[in-house]
Amino acid sequence: MSPRLKISKYVIERLSQIDTEESTGCLYGLMYDGILLVVGLSLELFEKEKNTYNQLLLNLPAEIELCGVIKFSDCLTIENKTKEILQDVDITDNPLVIIISQEKDIKAHFLVHDKFEETSYEVMEKDELWKQFLHVRLNTILPLTCEATIAGVKNILQNKRKKIASGQVSFHIDGTAVYLFGIASDVGVTGTSTEANIGELIDSMSAEQPSKKKKVNIHSLDIVPVNLVMKTTKDILSDKLVKTAVKMMTTQRKPAFCISMPLKVDTLAMIHRNTKLSELYTVLVEAACRSLRLLESVLLEQLGQEGIGDGAGLRLPETFHYLPEQLGHFLTRVVPKAIPDESMERERIQLHEQLALPTDKPMFRRGNAYTTYGGRLVNPHEALPLPSSGPNVTVALVRGRYTYHHYMQDNFNDDGWGCAYRSMQTIFSWFRYQGYNTTNIPTHREIQECLVNIGDKPTTFIGSRQWIGSTEVMFCLETLLGVQSRIIFANTGAELQSYTPELIHHFQKHGSPIMIGGGVLAHTIIGVEYNSEKNETRYLILDPHYTGADDITTVVGKGWCGWKTSDFWNKTAHYNLCLPQTRPCI
C-alpha cells in the first residue's frame, strides 16, 4: 500500500517558482505515522556521471531520504537516468514522481508495481512543519590519528563508522539522565520510561508551560542537544567475550607521516515530535555516519589537492548548519577551517543551482549559519501582524535576519547618546547574518576608533559620549565592511515622503536596514508601505532608544518596533538617511 502523501509548503512554493532548463529533479522526504512528507528538492545536474543527489543527501539532516523525482514536462515518461534515480529510493517501496507542467501545475504519482498511480496530497503549512518536527543535534569530538594518505584517512574513518554502528556507543541527551543504548547492551533507554517520546522530553526540559501554545519562531527552533559516549567495557555474559590480557604491538615503518586531529562531529536529524526515544538510537547512528562521510570527503578533497597532498597543510574541517528562509529544511556544510568564503564560491554556486535557490545573494557562507544570536531578539518585526495588502498598497521589507540593538545592552550605558551607534550595530548584524562577511559587530569604542583612524574625528573622540550621524555610519560601513552606502538628504520631515519610491526600491533590491538621523534622534527603518490611493507612506521603525529587557512582547506591544505614519517625523528637522548597498554575490 502506498503511503499517504504530504508536501511541505516550502516545496510547493519553490516548485512553483522554479525556472530551469533541467528536465529532472529529486525529491527528499521522511516517513512518519505511515505518511510520506516531502520536505526538500534538488535539480539533478547529472554532472560527471556522478549522481549528485547521493552527495547532497549527506548535507541533509538524518531521516531525510531520497523519495522520488520531479519531471518538468507535461507527460509522464521516464528515461533511463530517471529510472536509475527511482531505483535508489529506499525509504518507500513506491517512489514518488511529481510532474510539473508549463503552467506550473503540480501532479503527484506513486510508482506502484511499475505503474503510475496519481495520488492526492495535503500541503503542510510552514508553521505546522516546525511545530510537528524538531531536530536533534549530535555533537562529539572523535580523536583521529592516521597516516597522512588518502588510504589512511579512508581506512580510519571507515573504522570509526563501524565502531559507531557496532552498538558500542551510547547517546546521552545533554542536561538529562537519559542515555540511549545500542544492541551491545540489554536495555535501550535509561533515565526515563521506555515509552516516552522526544516531544514530551523537550517539553519537560523547557521551563515554559507545555500547554501554552507558543508561536513557532524559525529563529529559535527546538533543537535537542545530544552527545556520544563509547562503551569501553565488554559484556561479561557474552559468549563472544575474548579475554586476552592487554598487550602492546609496535610495528616499525620509516619514514612515515601521520596526522592527528580532533574531528568534530556536529550533525542533525529531523524527527517528528512523537518519535519514541527508543527509536532515536538508529537515527543518531545514521546522523553520525552521515557526518563522518561528509568530514571524510572534505579531508580527502584536501589531501588530493596539490601542495597539501602530503597532509602537512591539512586544515581542520568545520561544520555549519544552514536554514535559508525559502529552503524549509537544514542543510549542513563542512568546510576547511580558515579557508576564506570567497575562495569557495564555485562549490556554493553549484549548491545554489542544485537547490534551485537565487544566485544573487549569499546563503551558505559561514555568516549565514544558524546560530543562537547571543540572546538578542532576531527580526522582532516578524511578531507584528502583516500590513494589509491591496492593489493600491506596496510593501517592501528588510530581507533576511538582523538582531535588535538598543540602549543599555551589553551592560553598557549609552542612554541619551548611543542611538546611532545602536542603529549601526543593527546594520552590521544584517550584513553578518546575510553572510556578506564574518566581521564581529563593533562596540561603541570600536566604532569611535574606526572614525579616528580614518581621520574623521580627533583622538579625544575615543571614549567620549559624542553623537554620530548618517555619514559616520556610512564611513564605518565602508571602512570595516567595504560596504558602500547611498546618502539621502531631506530638508524637512515632510519632504521625506517624496523619497518613498527610493526606499521601496532599496528594500526590494538590497533589503538592508536603513539608518535615519534627524534632529537629535536616530532610528532604523526596516520597511515601508505606500498607499497610492491615499498617497500615504508608513514606515516600519526599529527604535534604538529602548532601554528595557529583550522581551518580544514589550518591544512589539509598546511600539519600539512598529509601523509609524509620516507624523512620526519632525516636520521642521533635517533628515539624513544612510542606505547600505549590496552587490550581487554568492
Binding site: S185, I236, K243, T250, T251, M261
Partner: protein, 465 residues
Amino acid sequence: MVRTVYSPEYCLQYLEQYASQEIFVTGLILGQITDARENVIHIARTPEEKGGEAISNDGSFASEKQDPVKNLLGVSEAWVADHAKHVTRMLPGGMFVLGIFITSDEDVFEDPNYFSKVKTILNYTYKVLNTNHLMFANCPHSNERLILHMSTNTKVLTCKSIEVGPSKNVAIKPVEWKFLSKPQQWQRLDCYYEFDEVYPVIVKKSGISVKQQFQQILESSHKTIESSVMFLDGELKDPSEQLEQLIKKKKTKNSSKTAQEVPKSMHVSLFVPFENALPETVEYLECDGSIHFSGIVASSVFMYPKASVGEAIAAVKQDIIRSLASRFTMHCDALIDDNLLPEEKVCFNEPPRRVLVPVGSLYLCDYLFPGEAPAEALLSVRELLDLQITEADVICDIETPADTSEFDALDRDTSSEELLATPQEASQFMYITGIAFAFLVLFVSIFIHYYDSISEFMRKLLTIS
C-alpha cells in the same frame, strides 16, 4: 567519635599465634575505608629480610643467613615500604594498606624510641607509595594510618592511629578494633575493560623506551577512565545510594526468590565521552611506526554492601588503573631491552596477566608472566600475604595470555602490513597462515603414520629396480 575498625576473627588468632611464640613480628594491615564502615580484610606479616641482598650492597661476604630481626628498631623501613608496594599490586581497587601491626614485648606506644621508629616506617612507606600516583597506593581520602600492637607478654591488643604525609598533626588517636564473629559479606562488582588503541610512534631525539610508552598509555587511560560514566547492571545510579539498597530494590521486584541468596556480582559498564580539550588544529607528525595497544583488564572489586555507589565507582576506576600500572611496572622491571623499536620490524610487549587469589571471603589478585604456571601465584601469596593456598584456588581464566601466533604471522610479513593497520586485517592474515600450517601438520602426520608402509613400498620399488 572514636574511629572503629572491623576485622575478621581469624586475624586475632593470627596475632596470638605469633604473640604466644613470643617473637617479634611486624606486618601490614589491609582493608577498605568507606563512609559507612572501615573493614580490615587481612593482616600479613612482612617477610624476613633477605640477608643476602642487604649484605651484597656493602660488599661483605657474610652471605650466611642472618639472625632474624629481634626488635622493631632493627626493622628496615625500606623493607616494609617495599612489602607495601608489592602487596598493593595484589589489592583490588578500593583496598589499601591501612597501617602496620606489631607483636612485641615492648609497648611501642610508650617507649619514645619505638614510637618514633613506627612513625618513620609509616611515613617512609607513605612516601614510597606516593611515587607512582597511578598505583593509588595511598588511600586518597585518609592519611591516618593504623598501628595495631599485641603485647607478647600480656596478649593485650591496642590500636591507635597517627597521621602521615605533609600534615604536621602529631596527635595520636585511639582506635577501636573490633572482631567480627561472622565473615563479612562483600558486594562484588565485575567488569572487563577493553583497550583497542592505535598510537603513532613519535621518536624524540633521545629515543623512546617501552617504559615511556607504557607511561603515556597509562596516563591517557587514566584521563579517559576518570571521565567515564559508569552504569551498574545497565543503569545509571545515584552516587549517594547504597549498593545494598540497589539489591533490595531488585529483590522486591522479583520477590519469589529467597533472601538467603549470596549477593550476586554486579556488572559494571563504563562509557567514555570524547575529550573536548584537544587543540583545534591538525597536527602533522613524522612517525616511525605505530603501536597497537589492545586487550582487556579484568576487574573484580569488593565493596562493603553499605558503601555508596559513588565509592564503588571510584574503586572500579582505581582498580583498572592500578592493574594497568602494576602490569606495566612488573613488565618493565623484567625487561632486558627497553628499546621500543629494536632491530625487528615488529615488536611485541606482553605484560603479565591478572589472576585472582582467594583471601578470606573475597579475592585479591596476582600477575603471571607469559609461560608462568599458576603455582607462581602461590609463592607470592605465601611470601607477601603469609597465606597458604593451593593451586586449585587460583582463578586463572579471568584473562588469557595473548596468542603469540598473531605476532609471529606479522613478523614474517610486515611488508604486507599497512601502517596503523586494523586488527581485523592482522587476524585475517593469521587465519590464512593458520590454515596453511594446519595442512603442513596434516601432511607430516600422515607421513609419520604411514611411514612403515611407505618405506616398505619404497624398498620394494628399489629392489625391483
